[in-house]
């Protein structure tokens, strides 16, 4: 739902919010009855979803660590959601407390909550903006305060892009970010895919009915989002296959439904 900046959206608690439903999946209580209702219905059709999302969070964690090890000291996490545990700034600042993290989300409640959590953390902030307005995000004073765009940045678009059915638009938007980022920057994407879901249409339909359209893209479609980036090993793969730490226990459940995950580097 797009709104010009002069007419702020009212906070409608009668409708589920993607951010809060996601929190519910992850076992959080930052959610309301409507959110839980949608969450439970989705879980009914797709019982493994919470596990899938845990895998997604695990990928996020590994990807952040990877970027930190690669020397990245600035993170731009778009569609960051409601902070639970293992958030980007926690993972990154564990290694280097001066790593800068800017969270961006369109959900005003998620942003307000993020701000509350980040109170006192001078290297992390949260802003409310729309992913589809890169210029607004990149020129936001909060971002400008923390991030030096002449230095490499890790741009995280994790579990976000499947909420935009217009592939062209996503492509264009990513390109605009890419052009604004310094060489050596990273793009981190995870994306739900019909290839890996047993009931993709059902899930999408439940979301669509609650007002959020979803687009489960194919692997090839997702790969195209990395245009202008070089995928690092092992490329675009299922979450569980992306740089799993050797000692990490593989789930005993052989079914794998996580979306496609990948990290690309701007040459």
């Amino acid at each position: 739902m797009e709104r010009p900046s002069w007419a702020p959206e009212d906070i409608d608690l009668e409708r589920p919010s993607v951010a809060r439903v996601y929190d519910f999946y992850l076992g959080g209580s930052h959610n309301f009855a409507v959110d839980r209702e949608l969450g439970r219905r989705v879980i009914e059709t797709f019982p493994l979803l919470p596990k899938t999302l845990q895998e997604n969070r695990a990928f996020l964690r590994r990807a952040v660590r990877f970027c930190v090890e690669a020397g990245i000291r600035q993170f731009l996490d778009i569609g960051s959601g409601i902070p639970t545990v293992g958030n980007v700034h926690e993972v990154a600042q564990q290694v280097d407390p001066t790593i800068k993290v800017v969270y961006v989300d369109i959900d005003p409640v998620a942003v307000a909550h993020s701000r509350a959590i980040l109170k006192g953390n001078e290297y992390a902030t949260a802003i409310r903006a729309d992913f589809r307005q890169p210029e607004v995000i990149l020129s936001h004073p909060e971002l400008q305060r923390l991030i030096d765009l002449r230095q490499p940045v890790a741009l995280l678009l994790v579990a976000l892009l499947h909420f935009f059915p217009d592939t062209e638009e996503v492509q264009r938007t990513i390109a605009r970010f890419r052009d604004a980022l310094a060489s050596g920057s990273y793009l981190v994407i995870s994306h739900a895919s019909a290839d890996t879901q047993p009931t993709p249409l059902k899930v999408a339909e439940l979301y669509a009915r609650s007002g959020t359209p979803m687009a489960m893209r194919t692997k090839a479609e997702i790969a195209r989002f990395f245009e202008g980036f070089e995928l690092v090993e092992p490329g675009l793969v299922l979450g569980l296959d992306w740089r799993l730490e050797p000692e990490e226990a593989v789930d005993d459940n052989p079914e794998r439904h996580s979306g496609y995950c990948g990290v690309g580097k701007k040459p």
């Binding site: 702020p8 959206e9 930052h30 969070r57 639970t84 545990v85 293992g86 409640v109 307000a112 990490e248």
Partner: protein, 726 residues
């Protein structure tokens, strides 16, 4: 307290098995691994499996310590439960599996499952208590966490709402500023037209304060001259029949002046689609409008007289004719000044222009009474549009009044100028006519008024027009008729009255027209004179008559009659006349004395210079010259004396009055006898035309008239008939 000291080796009173302390004990690591596998994936925790294992190893150590401690403290279980939740093991399933794995696997992993007796009971009781306190610690921490998170998310909602409110207020303030400061006038009304809000620009545009306008009805801003359809459009908008209006609308200022605006109005509906507001934006275009009006005025008015010009006239005429009311009539008076060119040429354009202005003023005054449109068509042409017209008489009245208004002389630059005008009047029902037809008729009628003698009006007359059209077509087809030999001659005898001998014949031309049959000369000679065809036609007549006369001469040498041929004025003025005649005579071999040429009195009398020379030359050649229709024109008798004339042909009107003896008109008798004796004095012979009775013949003979012509004596006939007389 002697409690269980797991650090003391086994063999104490209770037979307690000695185990290494905490994490160092064998079995702790294995148990931790089993525990980790059991609860992995039940809750989302940001830990790798190694991290998870080490986290659980610590917890397992604490549980085992508590289990084997001398002084048993079940509180440890409680702490472990809380720790789990704090690490985000928030799923009930984690708790369930943890309790189960403690009960089923802890003692076997520690190698204590063999313990029996009271120690076994003590162990089981301790384990159960630890499980219980772990569950309550877990539950309590989860409840705390849940409540905290709920509190946190609610706070976030409040915060977000506050921010949204703040943004909304900022945006409202921004809008208010935009609304108030916009250069364009904006007004908001409810569906009934009651004004809710206006901005400064609109208030200033109309001369109100913003406050004064609130509560007014938009209808009160209407200009009284606004067409009624305009209101309907607005009613449609208010009723929801249309959602937008774009139009030019006139509003009324508080000072009564009109303000022209470009208006864009929209209907704003609520979610159910019910009309809520009308929003209108007004751009003041008064200046632009005035400029347009000025331009339009310029385009439709004559700069000299300020009268409407032909463009406007045609516009109005068009409008009048477009009406579909069949009873309506329209009148057009097409007026052209008589002799205006003379004024212009002699007194200069400046005076001419002033004269036009003065005349325009007179005409305006005279037409404005009836509310008719007066336009200047260009030059000295004006037109009055009477629309609607009551009847023909009223249109004629307008024309009359216009003529009368010009009677008084006009004073310009010391000159007293008298101008008259000719007017073509066309008046007819609007149905079944067109602008082109009306204007063509007006043009023709104006020409009639001119040719009828100017300073008058003429009324369009379709019959007259039809006649003229026929005349026109006739004259247009005449040249081809001459080529095709459609003309022929008849001959009427000229009879000597003393002995009734035929001494000559008059050649009379006829046209055997393919559609109209045989036409007499009065139908086409006039036309031929106008078009100039008379010259070749006359030449043909002369040649034909001479050829015929020669034939008679050959048949009856010395006795055949001479032939008399009419000569038109145009022919007399034609420089080739003498050459043509002598050529024809030599071609046909006719003796000049056998040819008589008849000219009208006026043709002969007015002649001077070359035409007169030609006449003398013809007479010298031995050709007889007769004056035709004598007595109808003005004759200078003394002049007549010096002309080479041989015969007078007395006009038939004099003959008409002659009757037997006493019934005769004494004046006519007197005139005829005087003319005859006068002619004889001048050595001229007299031929009387138009003899229709024996009494007339007798009287003429008695009065001494030499010859006669007329139906009573002989009708015109073909050449063969002439031979019969001879």
């Amino acid at each position: 307290m002697t409690g269980l000291d797991h650090r003391t080796p086994a063999g104490s009173g209770r037979g307690w098995v000695a185990l290494p302390s905490g994490g160092g004990r064998p079995g702790v690591d294995t148990f931790a691994r089993v525990w980790a596998t059991t609860i992995a994936g039940t809750s989302y925790v940001p830990l790798s499996s190694t991290e998870l294992e080490s986290f659980l190893r610590d917890l397992a150590g604490r549980i085992i310590d508590a289990l084997l401690d001398d002084t048993f403290d079940p509180q440890v279980g409680y702490e472990v439960g809380r720790t789990l939740v704090n690490a985000h093991f928030t799923s009930p399933e984690t708790l369930g599996r943890t309790v189960a794995v403690l009960g089923n696997r802890l003692l076997p992993q520690l190698g204590l499952s063999y313990v029996e007796g009271p120690d076994a009971a003590e162990l089981a009781s301790r384990l159960a208590m630890l499980q219980g306190s772990l569950a309550s610690g877990f539950a309590e921490a989860l409840r705390d966490r849940t409540l905290d998170e709920q509190e946190a998310i609610r706070q976030a909602v409040l915060l977000a709402r506050e921010e949204a409110q703040y943004a909304l207020r900022a945006s409202e303030a921004r809008f208010r500023a935009v609304f108030a400061g916009a250069a364009i006038g904006i007004g908001i009304a409810d569906p009934d037209g009651r004004i809710l809000e206006v901005n400064q620009a609109l208030a200033s545009m109309l001369g109100y304060t913003v406050n004064e306008m609130r509560g007014l009805n938009i209808n009160s801003l209407r200009h009284p001259d606004e067409p009624i359809e305009m209101q309907q459009i607005f009613q449609e908008l208010a009723a929801g029949g249309r959602d937008h209006i774009f139009l030019e609308k006139r509003l009324m200022r508080t000072d009564g002046q009109a303000v022209w605006t470009h208006l864009t109005a929209s209907l704003i509906r609520d979610e159910d689609g019910t009309p809520r507001y009308q929003v209108a934006m007004f751009e003041d275009v008064t200046e632009r409008h005035q400029l347009q009006e000025r331009l339009r005025h310029q385009a439709t008015h004559d700069p000299l007289t300020q009268l409407p010009n032909r463009t406007l006239f045609f516009e109005r005429l068009n409008e009048a004719l477009r009406s579909d009311d069949p009873t309506l009539r329209v009148g057009v008076c097409y007026l052209d000044l008589d002799g205006f060119k003379v004024v212009n040429d002699s007194l200069g354009h400046d005076v001419g222009d002033q004269l036009l202005v003065a005349i325009a003023n007179r005409l305006v005054q005279c037409v404005s009474v009836g509310g008719h449109l007066l336009a200047r068509m260009g030059g000295d042409e004006f037109v009055i549009l009477v629309a609607p017209s009551r009847d023909t008489a009223s249109a004629i009245e307008v024309a009359d009044a216009a003529l009368r208004s010009l009677e008084e002389p006009v004073r310009i630059a010391g000159h007293e100028l008298t101008v008259s005008a000719s007017i073509g009047v066309v008046e007819r029902p609007v149905a079944g006519t067109s602008v082109a037809e009306v204007m063509k008729a007006a043009d023709i009628t104006l020409y009639w008024a001119k040719s009828d003698g100017r300073n008058r009006w003429a009324l369009y007359d379709p019959e007259r027009n039809a006649r003229e059209v026929a005349r026109y077509t006739l004259s247009a087809t005449m040249p081809r008729a001459l080529e095709r030999g459609e003309f022929f001659l008849e001959y009427q005898p000229l009879v000597r009255l003393t002995d009734r001998t035929v001494i000559g014949v008059e050649a009379l031309v006829r046209w055997r027209h393919p559609q109209h049959g045989v036409l007499r000369p009065d139908r086409f000679i006039g036309l031929a004179e106008e078009t100039g065809l008379i010259v070749p036609l006359g030449r043909w007549v002369l040649a034909e008559a001479c050829r015929e006369a020669k034939r008679w001469q050959q048949k009856y040498p010395g006795q055949a009659p001479f032939v008399s041929v009419n000569l038109a004025v145009r022919q007399l003025h034609d420089r080739g006349l003498v050459g043509d005649v002598s050529a024809i005579l030599s071609e046909t071999g006719l003796d000049p004395s056998c040819l008589q040429l008849e000219l009208t009195e006026s043709a002969v009398m007015g002649s001077a210079g070359p035409p007169l020379d030609a006449l003398h030359e013809l007479a010298r050649m031995g050709i007889r010259i007769a004056i035709d229709d004598f007595g109808t024109g003005y004759s200078n008798l003394s002049y007549l004396r010096r002309l080479p004339v041989h015969t007078l042909k007395l006009d038939g009107s004099f003959v008409e009055g002659l009757r037997p003896e006493d019934a005769s008109d004494p004046v006519d008798e007197k005139i005829v006898s005087t003319l005859v004796s006068l002619a004889h004095t001048l050595n001229l012979t007299v031929t009387a035309e138009g003899i229709e009775t024996s009494a007339q013949e007798e009287r003429l003979r008695d009065l001494g008239c030499d010859c006669g012509q007329g139906w009573y004596l002989a009708r015109p006939g073909p050449p063969e008939a002439v031979l019969a007389f001879s």
